[in-house]
Symmetry: C2
DNA sequence: ATAATTGCGGTCTAATAAGACCGCAGTTGA
DNA sequence: TCAACTGCGGTCTTATTAGACCGCAATTAT
C-alpha cells in the first residue's frame, strides 16, 4: 500500500478541508467539538497524513455544514 | 465505534456504487479488474459491510469513470 | 448437460484508522 | 506580563480496512 499518488491526493483532500474550516472561522478545537473528532486527528487529516474513512468524511461534512460530495470537490490524480 | 446511523449510510453508499456499476454493465469481477480491488471486497462494499477509505473511493470512482464527489452523490443521515 | 460466469461469504495476515490523551512552542490579547 | 488559545506532533490500544485467496450455489450461456 501507501501508493505514492495517494499521498498527493490525501494532501489535496486535507487542503480542501482546511480551506473549508477556515472559511467558517473555526479553530481545530472548535471543529473537533462540532464533529467529535480529536483536534490532533483533524490536524493530521488536513496535512494529508491519514487516509480517512467514509464515515469520517460524513462527520466532517456535517460539522462543516456542507454535503459529503462537496467535501471531495477537488481534482485528484 | 460501529455507530448505528453509520450502517445505514454505508448501505446507501454501497447501493449507489452498485447502481453505478450496473449502469456500466460491469460484473463484480470486471470492476475488480478495472480498479484493482478484490471482487469479494467490492461485494462487501456494495452491501455496506465495510467502511472504505478515501483512497478506495478514488479507485472506484476512477474505474467507474466518474468523479469521487459523484460517487457520494446521495443523501446521508 | 455442461461449462463459464456471477454474486457473495468466509479466512488469514499485515497495515493502519479510530479514538483518547498529553504537552509544547508560538501567537493573541487582556 | 501572563493567561488563553492554536496548530501540531507524538503515544498507546483497539478495532477495522486492505489485500489476497478459496469455493460454493445459482444463473447464464453453449
Amino acid at each position: 500500500m501507501i501508493r505514492q499518488s495517494d499521498k498527493g491526493n490525501l494532501k489535496k483532500l486535507g487542503a480542501n478541508i482546511k480551506k473549508l474550516r477556515e472559511a467558517k472561522n473555526l479553530s481545530l478545537r472548535e471543529l473537533s467539538y462540532a464533529c467529535d473528532i480529536d483536534n490532533s486527528k483533524i490536524s493530521k487529516i488536513e496535512k494529508g497524513q491519514i487516509n480517512i474513512t467514509f464515515t469520517t468524511i460524513l462527520q466532517l461534512a456535517k460539522a462543516l455544514e456542507i454535503s459529503p460530495s462537496e467535501l471531495l470537490m477537488t481534482e485528484y490524480d
